[in-house]
């Protein structure tokens, strides 16, 4: 029984090796070169899946990327489980494991199929109607149930072990599609000497020549010709041929995204190969040769396994050597299905009958078919089919109706309603399609980019015309892109296949008023009746019909369904098709894996990690780290037996008692230099700078033009024309951008140069009463006495023999220094300071202790205690504004009426009535805890800690009219209790500031 539908002598892989595979644990064998679909069909398997909504049994519709039904899971191992793979695209390899989806407990018996019986419940728009109320039920009941029952495959639950690569490429001519037209265009362009990239989604080039058995080009059959051209192109140094590659997106300025499947067809891919490769191609000219896709006929139960596109059956026969049945029927409104019937008949398959909707089909192909002894039923329709898991018969009657029915047994039914040009990429390029009334097709109309459509996607039917058009287009594209005149001769077509048009919309038996399930969109289970219902319920535009019915919204993006859906809607609206409109095509053309998009940017390569010069020391000394933007910062340094709380308490106390060393390297640093440096600083900061003496520092406050606080930091003036500016850690890059923006565009007359020096200086903060004693033995050439170097001053000299910018400043409220040294010396100087510190009982402290120490002093952190809506006055730091200044960024914004209105939230301190209770940062504050919900919230907690130095909890908060509420009791409602707090000043420790010189 194995492989029993393989026809000896047919197909192109007759001598290929056997490939074993399993489908739902059952072993089968196929041959190398097969797709999973052709291998299953060779074994007589048509039933491969269940549908999305009704769980109806489904078979294989197509032989390509348009497949809506035959979606399976491909499992390589526990981590490599790819859902929703189209069996018609997946190449077979030895050992392939495939499983069907969306069925339970088995494919042939599925409990979910009850949805099919209950289908009125799931009609068009059911998502919007059935489950609207009650709201709570949506979350707890409807959504989980729907998610469970619906959906397609199952996502893998382990990290993807494969890797994915990415490349950029440039070329003069990019040809998308490697069928006859694409090959001819690529050849013409390549012979002109320009760089050409030819892309095709199949493993081999040739496109529709895979099945068009009658085509003859240059004295060869079409397929053989195609392979010859492909080989010739691959050998040319200016040509890159990418097979198994899909052009999924066409973006601005001829930028095209390609995804190349590198290993999905291999039995055991090596880890040295990426699974997929993303190509981002910029082309001078793009040639679209994307072909056309056959449409199915829309009739009752047209989704039964065994019913497929005529071109697919022909492909399985002519390319793979597989008969899709032994006794097939054909249902068509189009000539091309006759060619399929003839090929099958010649291969020894019985063709039971051709049912043609057209009254008097005529022409060569029809004559040949008749001569071959195949019955043709003109002017008739298939109105029903027998069989559930596989078609067993078709019932035929005159298309105009009547009781003259006849049931013909068949085991497969080939259908063709005509061909839809694949204008997806053209449409993505923002080209406008135009409806051709004569052939009832949307064809490329107005172009938006430097591209050209040829062949099937341009509505060109005859192969010889295609070839002329393609060759000319290839030549012109190359010439327009700067190529020379081509030498090659145009390929000559000797025999051709000509297909006349077909039909759009529902076939007789599925017309308005009927209740049959005639599927338009197989993947989303949308029937002709659903589309009509959408119109009845008021949808007028196809965009609305699409969303209401979900027609064309599945992963196949309606490749087979869009035109039928549109025609049915237009018919129901009694309007012309172009008036109802075509939905917009969007990238991706076929689904693209996340892996392909993400490439190498995952895990530790997702975002750069920044480490300071002292990082390794901190690591060796047991620091716990926290992420601050891209930085890794030492959070606290636990000693043996300490938890975070104990370590942080010890660090806070030690700093105030003796001293602590803190790595402040992540602070942003900008060197502002030039004769107009002070004038520039005056404009960018609220503070006055002109009169600041060299050697002195000042707290700088930066606003945005709207008057809100943007950043802050201590600035040291090193010389009349040189400032050492520090910024917050998170603000470094944007402050630099902000400064550059003003310097380049608003104040270009100022002679100033800005340099980011954040990475150049390592910064070691030494804070605490013993800080001077610690640095003293190491500093050379700087008098660090209080008299010579008071608080807020800066000196240049040496420390441990290396240059330093030594700041006397404090973010702890204690006497303190910040030692800036070139980053390369950071760790060495830290080690030396650490050794000195040990003599005085100093500790290393991390960001947590730093936060607490500054909060004890009421020093704000921009971005924590401010949030982009806080003014200088709100923060209570008006003293930082130079009162005599006539201009700085934000000077006007801060005077806007709302920013000076009373009642704004102001920064205050909060003390919990129970000193042991620590508030939650972000918690909301109310005046009256007994008011009804929703309560009026008057503020929120911005910083909150346990302060070991104060022996109680402390907090900062923004509270409406806060400074007028000193001593007031407010309330912080939490899920389990309401916490009473007292409004206080923002300084909790050493209110007089004596410790700065302590």
């Amino acid at each position: 029984m194995a492989d029993s539908f393989r026809i000896s002598g047919a197909g192109r892989f007759s001598h290929a090796k056997t490939a074993r595979f399993t489908f739902d644990d059952k072993p089968y064998s196929g041959i190398e070169g097969d797709t999973l679909a052709s291998a299953l069909l060779a074994n007589g398997v048509h039933l491969v899946g269940r549908s999305f909504k009704y769980h109806r049994p489904r078979g294989i519709l197509s032989a390509g990327a348009e497949e809506p039904n035959a979606l399976v899971g491909i499992h390589r191992d526990a981590a490599r489980k790819t859902p929703n793979v189209r069996a018609t695209v997946q190449e077979l390899y030895d050992g392939l494991t495939a499983v069907s989806q969306n069925r339970w407990p088995s494919l042939s018996f599925d409990v979910g199929a009850v949805n099919d019986v209950a289908s009125p419940f799931f009609s068009a728009g059911f998502y919007y109607k059935t489950f609207m109320w009650p709201k709570a039920a949506w979350k707890s009941l409807y959504e989980p149930k729907i998610r469970e029952a619906a959906g397609l495959g199952v996502s893998p639950d382990q990290p993807d072990p494969d890797h994915y690569s990415a490349r950029f490429a440039h070329c003069e001519v990019l040809v998308l599609g490697g069928g006859a037209a694409g090959l001819a265009a690529a050849l013409a362009a390549a012979e002109s000497g320009v760089r050409v990239i030819l892309v095709d989604e199949q493993a081999e080039l040739g496109g529709a020549l895979r099945f068009e058995s009658a085509a003859r080009i240059e004295g060869q059959d079409g397929w053989t010709w195609a392979q010859g051209i492909a080989a010739r192109l691959k050998a040319m140094p200016n040509v890159r041929v990418l097979t198994r590659t899909t052009a999924f997106g066409y973006y601005a300025q001829n930028f095209v995204g390609l995804t190349e499947r590198v290993t999905d067809h291999l039995s055991s891919p090596g880890m040295d190969q990426p699974r997929e490769r993303l190509w981002q191609v910029r082309a001078r000219r793009v040639v679209l040769a994307t072909g056309a896709i056959e449409r199915h006929m829309v009739f009752a139960d047209n989704d039964r396994p065994g019913i497929m596109l005529a071109s697919a059956a022909r492909t399985y026969l002519n390319h793979y050597g597989v008969a899709v049945g032994r006794n097939v029927g054909v249902y068509t409104a189009n000539d091309s299905a006759y060619a399929a019937a003839l090929d099958l008949k010649k291969a020894g398959v019985n063709v039971a009958a051709i049912v043609d909707l057209r009254d008097n089909p005529s022409g060569d192909l029809i004559d040949q078919t008749r001569a071959a002894g195949i019955e043709i039923h003109g002017g008739r329709a298939v109105v029903s089919v027998g069989g559930k898991l596989r078609i067993s018969s078709m019932t035929v009657q005159p298309r105009t109706g009547g009781k003259n029915q006849r049931t013909i047994p068949v085991d497969a039914l080939l259908m063709s309603a005509g061909w839809t040009p694949s204008v997806h990429l053209f449409s993505q390029s923002r080209g406008k399609v135009a409806f051709n009334e004569q052939v009832k097709r949307f064809l490329p109309g107005t172009y938006a980019q430097d591209c050209i459509s040829i062949g099937g996607c341009n509505g060109t039917d005859e192969l010889s015309t295609c070839m002329d058009e393609a060759y000319a287009a290839g030549l012109k594209a190359a010439k327009d892109a700067g190529g020379k005149t081509a030498k090659a001769a145009k390929p000559k077509v000797e025999a051709d296949e000509v297909w006349s048009r077909g039909m759009l919309g529902a076939a007789p038996g599925a017309e308005a008023g009927t209740t049959v399930k005639a599927f338009v969109d197989f993947q989303n289970d949308v029937t002709a009746k659903d589309i009509r219902q959408a119109v009845h319920e008021g949808m007028r535009s196809i965009e609305h019909v699409k969303r209401f019915t979900t027609n064309g919204m599945a992963t196949d993006q309606g490749k087979t369904s869009n035109m039928h859906g549109l025609a049915i809607a237009a018919d129901e609206l009694s309007r012309a098709i172009p008036e109802v409109g075509l939905t917009t095509f969007r990238a991706p053309y076929t689904p693209v894996t996340f892996g392909s998009i993400v490439g190498h940017a995952r895990g530790s390569l997702f975002d750069p990690t920044r480490r300071t010069a002292m990082h390794d020391w901190a690591e060796r000394n047991g620091a716990a780290f926290e992420d601050v933007g891209q930085w890794k910062r030492a959070w606290y340094f636990p000693r043996a037996g300490e938890d975070m709380h104990a370590a942080v308490n010890r660090e806070c106390v030690t700093v105030r008692k003796t001293a602590g060393l803190f790595d402040a390297s992540t602070l942003g640093k900008i060197e502002v230099v030039g004769p107009d440096a002070a004038a520039f600083m005056e404009l960018l900061y609220t503070n006055p700078w002109q009169k600041l003496d060299p050697g002195r520092c000042r707290y700088g406050l930066m606003l945005r033009e709207d008057g809100f606080i943007y950043d802050d930091g201590v600035v040291g003036r090193l010389a009349a024309d040189r400032f050492h500016v520090t910024t917050t850690t998170g603000g470094a890059a944007r402050v630099m951008n902000h400064m550059e923006d003003y310097l380049q565009t608003e104040f270009p007359h100022l002679k100033v140069w800005l340099t980011s020096t954040s990475e150049q200086w390592a910064v070691i903060a030494v804070q605490g009463p013993k800080s001077r004693d610690i640095i003293a033995p190491l500093v050379e050439g700087i008098d660090i006495s209080d008299a010579a170097m008071p608080h807020m001053s800066v000196r240049e000299g040496k420390i441990c023999g290396v240059p330093t910018r030594l700041f006397r400043m404090s973010f702890s409220g204690e006497r303190g220094f910040e030692v800036n040294v070139p980053a390369d010396y950071g760790e060495t100087v830290w080690e030396a300071l650490w050794a000195e510190g040990q003599k005085h009982g100093a500790c290393a402290y991390g960001t947590e202790a730093m936060h607490i120490l500054r909060a004890e002093k009421g020093y704000i952190i921009v971005g924590q205690d401010t949030d982009g809506t806080v003014t200088v006055n709100d923060a209570g730091i008006d003293w930082a504004i130079g009162r005599k200044k006539t201009d700085f960024v934000g000077i006007r914004g801060m005077k806007r009426p709302d920013l000076v209105a009373p009642g704004r939230k102001q920064l205050v301190g909060l003390k919990t009535k129970d000193p042991k209770v620590v508030l939650e940062e972000g918690a909301q504050i109310v005046a009256d805890p007994n008011q009804p919900v929703p309560m009026t919230m008057i503020g929120h907690v911005t910083s909150s800690y346990w302060s070991e130095n104060c022996g109680r909890s402390i907090a900062l908060a923004l509270v409406a009219g806060g400074r007028d509420r000193m001593g007031e009791t407010l309330h912080v409602p939490m899920p389990d209790r309401t916490i009473e707090v007292e409004v206080t000043g923002t300084v909790f420790f050493d209110e007089k500031g004596e410790h700065l010189n302590g």
């Binding site: 300025q253 930028f255 923002r430 033009e705 550059e740 565009t745 608003e746 270009p748």
Partner: protein, 98 residues
């Protein structure tokens, strides 16, 4: 991904190297501290948001780091031209019918 011509580097570079910086030719008033609420509103908040030609500021942030101006069509996304910061708004645009 768009290609953008940096008028300082004098070549087309991929969009990844650039950052948009809002509408161009919105000059900060020299006497900003003295202007009325209405004038401040017009300067700071009101932007043209046209369907069609827009004048924008861009920065070649991962290149020469210069700010420059660009004329772009918001319908097609196409850059019509770019020019240096401080240069006047171009009167004639290449390839745009007026």
């Amino acid at each position: 991904m768009l290609l953008i011509r940096c008028p300082y580097c004098e070549e087309e570079r991929p969009e990844l190297e650039f950052r948009n910086a809002g509408e161009a030719h919105v000059a900060r008033p020299a006497d900003i501290a003295a202007i009325s609420d209405e004038d401040f509103e017009a300067f700071f908040f009101i932007r043209s948001n046209p369907k069609g030609i827009i004048y924008e500021r861009w920065r070649h942030i991962h290149g020469c780091a210069r700010f420059f101006n660009a004329v772009r069509d918001t319908v097609s996304d196409k850059f019509v031209m770019t020019y240096k910061a401080g240069e006047p708004k171009p009167k004639k645009l290449p390839g745009v019918a007026k």
